[in-house]
Symmetry: C2
Subunit: 356 residues, 2 copies
């Protein structure tokens, strides 16, 4: 059954609500209202026209009930993953109104005694999307997957790896390829309705989780598997998750996703790497496990003019020799066309794993 | 109070009991008996003379009680980390004899209802060494640590990173330096009595755990901090943990630990890397976060003659230009002497973090 979401993002909907934006743009469930008192009275299309969707923005959860939601989605993924203390009352109001609570936070809301008790009393449920299942260790079975595996990587967190993955899957499907999106983070899971939040898996098992996701997509009969990447290879806090995906998914090829305005890793002083260094470093690391090439670069140029965006795209190509594009601004078709000859089942260009 | 350990390692003590060997050689607690029916009647010094210790080997836990143990230590770290099913009776016999159970397994024995109930009934406790505390995200505070930070890395798991770290700390202390060993795995924690099993931390927080360990050692007043590394940078399953330590500890320098006989990553077909490539790859990755050099190479040459060992040590130096040694066979003094000029508090050669 399709959910009707009210999305909770007080004071953050416009600037810092990646989960909300992803679900509005790509989710199969409906979004009927946004709760953000700072923007109450406006509509989504007034604030974020690029989402190509619309819904009213209201001040409180009780205000949202007018639009008959069936679920409350926690709309942000704050650093550290906790529920802001002043959001508790909104969650409790939603529980008491019998809404399902859907959360991608690190804090497991179902472990909170008050939330759990109130949800049981109200006869509703809490879906903690980020809580991973038990997974086995990495086994190497992924080396035998027949379908080509594409992984997105990037110059930082939150630069558009999920979006690029979803847009490439859309282009592939429109071209007649049975492509599957593999979600590895909370928003992707909420969008797709399955997946594992790999950053939440015990470190020893993170590569195993990535492998299981690819095996599942292969089992479902995908002709092309596109894995949402996480973090960045030189991220001081999250590089481990990035590398777990690079080894665990055993990609045949990689798409580099960059926001060129990021000169330092967000929240840390670590400088981001340039296009050519990113290409070289990812290929260098992948070569030590299962060789794979960077096939193209997807840029996030939001906030630039079309002309500035094209200049940045040209620069990325000039510095690396690779096709580049902004798949949100200009559509995913050109980048997909550039990579699709390699990413075809049975292509002789596919990389080989150490077990093959 | 010092523990008196009986160590459980049925059919594995000689070949596959890393935890047992580490505690016997380096632990501050006493080892009074080994339980391994395959070797019953022999003594530790007959089977593994290099441990420079001695204890009787007996067939069963009841046999071990004759030596008045106060704790039963699970002596191995099998792949996947589970308790072999046919060891349950031995653990229950120890619980019923009021021994403390000390385990570094991934399976948390205290979560097992039967073990927990029987331990409560017997009035004893279960210490699951691998269960990590809650840790914060990586913050960058480690960049302000004044003491030099040395991290061991390697060409595979189980090649001697803990041993080399402990031997270098011993050499440093004998040279008058207040060095501290930082344990990151179950054996190291059992040996040192503190630490975090970083491979057991949720992936997002693994670098944060590494940072907290270094901050703790610094807070204790160490003049040199030597961190036990884990895994290998091209390990298909565990590379994420390796990289979490490389970013989270923010080392000023690295010691490369290699078993030259490993031509492929254990249990996987991935080829191990040569000395020069390992040096280059680690320095390359560290340069993207906080630059640090490989200062020396520690080799595990067990099973070779002294002459073969010296030839391998010379080869490592010839291929990299770095000092090399087997710190178990020839002692840690030479390798420590080679690296100590750089690893001194206030040395101008120390690397700088991006926040400094």
């Amino acid at each position: 059954m399709t959910r009707r979401y009210a999305i909770l993002a007080p004071h953050r909907f416009e600037t810092d609500a990646k989960t909300a934006h992803g679900v509005i743009r790509y989710g199969s469930d409906d979004v009927v209202a946004i709760v953000d008192s700072a923007l109450a009275g406006k509509r989504v299309k007034d604030v974020l026209p690029f989402l190509e969707s619309d819904a009213p923005i209201v001040a409180t959860v009780p205000d949202a009930l007018e639009y008959s939601p069936t679920a409350l989605l926690i709309g942000t993924a704050p650093k550290g993953g906790g529920l802001p203390a002043d959001w508790r009352d909104a969650v409790l109001a939603a529980i008491d109104a019998k809404l399902e609570i859907v959360s991608g936070l690190h804090d497991i809301l179902g472990d909170d005694r008050e939330f759990r008790f109130r949800a049981q009393a109200a006869g509703t449920t809490i879906w903690d999307v980020r809580e991973p299942p038990d997974v086995p260790l990495f086994s190497g079975a992924v080396y035998d997957v027949a379908a080509p595996i594409l992984l997105t990587v990037g110059n930082d967190c939150a630069v558009g790896k999920m979006t690029v993955s979803l847009e490439l899957v859309r282009a592939a499907r429109e071209a007649g390829c049975n492509a599957r999106f593999v979600p590895t983070g909370q928003t992707g899971i909420i969008v797709a309705g399955w997946g594992i939040s790999v950053d939440r898996v015990i470190a020893d098992f993170a590569a195993g989780a990535a492998e299981q996701l690819v095996l599942y997509a292969a089992h479902e009969g995908a002709d092309l598997i596109v894995v949402e990447g996480q973090g960045a290879l030189n991220h001081p806090a999250y590089a481990a998750v990035t590398l777990a995906l690079m080894t665990g998914c055993a990609p045949d090829a990689v798409i580099l996703v960059c926001d060129p305005r990021r000169t330092a890793i967000e929240s840390y002083g670590t400088p981001t790497l340039g296009y050519a260094e990113l290409v070289e470093l990812h290929e260098r690391m992948l070569a030590t496990v299962k060789p794979a090439k960077v096939l193209g670069i997807a840029l996030r140029t939001a906030g630039s003019s079309d002309r500035e965006a094209r200049a940045e795209i040209e620069r990325a190509t000039r510095e690396t020799g690779l096709p580049a594009d902004d798949v949100v601004r200009f559509g995913p078709e050109r980048l997909y066309a550039a990579i699709s000859p390699v990413m075809t089942k049975g292509s002789p260009l596919r990389a080989e794993g150490p077990h093959e």
